[in-house]
């Protein structure tokens, strides 16, 4: 039962053996990282999600340059969607910043757990800055799958390649989504906008490993319409903190009982 919750892909990965001369240069390792985006279904999920983000940016009246800059510099789907929807619905900069930063806290444990996979005795902290920037849920999942098959001293280059490949796919998806939203009929435009909530709902549901995650997801959806009735301007934060805390309470209660 648990196994199904965990790793999305168990297919064999097509990479050269650890002692192959293919790993002799940094650039080759970067190239293998780049090529690895074709080895995962998550690339398609990401493409669809960023197609939706591009369309959402269009329909909330942001420029394409703005949408692309958000993908390059934020590089976290949930944060981008929160930013676009809150700013688009009239929240202040402070309210948006708070909602974004709370959604981004999850990046902290991801970075903490993924960087040791790339570090060697000689690695300096600044060599890991770009890898830390590229870390988001997809890269985090894929690092655990791919990195054991990559020689340790080439892992940073490999991750740079993988990350740059994923970012490029998303920039293309943003652009396509933006223009589709601008040019399609209303019905098809609506279909593209609907991709965002659907792909986020199901990929979050799929990543939910603990009961607390499932409760947070379900309650978070159900409580939002109630919180929105208060019209506080921080509706998302109110429903998020309440639902998340109840979910944590369920987790705590199960632990005490066990």
């Amino acid at each position: 039962m648990r196994a199904r919750f965990r790793n999305p892909a168990k297919a064999p990965v097509a990479l050269p053996p650890l002692d192959s001369p293919q790993w002799n240069s940094r650039w080759l390792a970067f190239g293998w990282g780049l090529r690895s985006i074709t080895q995962t279904i998550l690339t398609i999920v990401l493409f669809v999600t960023y197609l939706g983000i591009g369309a959402l940016a269009h329909d909330t009246h942001f420029s394409l340059a703005w949408a692309l800059a958000s993908t390059l510099f934020v590089w976290a789907g949930p944060a981008q969607i929160i930013l676009i929807t809150t700013l688009g619905s009239g929240a202040t900069i402070i309210q948006s910043a708070i909602a974004v930063t709370v959604s981004a806290i999850r990046l902290f444990p991801m970075v903490v757990s993924v960087l040791p996979l790339m570090r060697t005795q000689a690695t300096r902290r600044r060599e890991l800055i770009f890898a830390a920037h590229l870390t988001a849920v997809t890269l985090w999942v894929e690092c655990h799958r791919f990195l054991p098959l990559v020689p340790r001293e080439r892992r940073i280059a490999f991750v740079h390649g993988l990350g740059c490949g994923l970012v490029s796919v998303c920039l293309v998806a943003n652009t396509v989504g933006y223009f589709l939203a601008a040019n399609l009929t209303q019905t098809l435009g609506a279909a593209i906008l609907l991709l965002t909530p659907l792909s986020f709902l199901f990929s979050t549901a799929r990543n939910s490993r603990e009961v607390a995650d499932v409760v947070a997801l379900v309650l978070g959806i159900l409580l939002y319409p109630l919180a929105a009735k208060m019209n506080s301007g921080v509706d998302i934060l109110v429903s998020g903190v309440v639902a998340g805390t109840i979910a944590y309470g369920v987790h705590w209660w199960r632990q005490v009982r066990a």
């Binding site: 930013l83 279909a191 934060l237």
Partner: protein, 116 residues
Amino acid sequence: MSFAQAIGDWHALAVLFVAGVVPNQIWRMLGLWFGGGIDEGSELLVWVRAVATAILAGVIAQIVVEPPGALASVPDVLRYGAVAAGLVAFLLARRSIFAGVVTGEVFMLAGKWWLG
């Protein structure tokens, strides 16, 4: 008048950095700097993850309940129905994201077509 039009492109980019880039990147950089001593399974992080998930869930609900742009042309019942149909397919197909997304989209498009 939209947000971006109202304040111009360079201002919109400045807002992107203040409201989006900085609040997001700060956690990655903290992870890079203080990574060593944090236990991934600690109780605080369980709570943080639950709140982060619930905020994302709220955003999903917001897009469906108060739809932006073209999505607003889809009647309520079709939007909620699409999510429900997608969820059923997702669960029946052993948590397949693909099955959930495609079913939701087909439900919405078929409903639009049927309603005319």
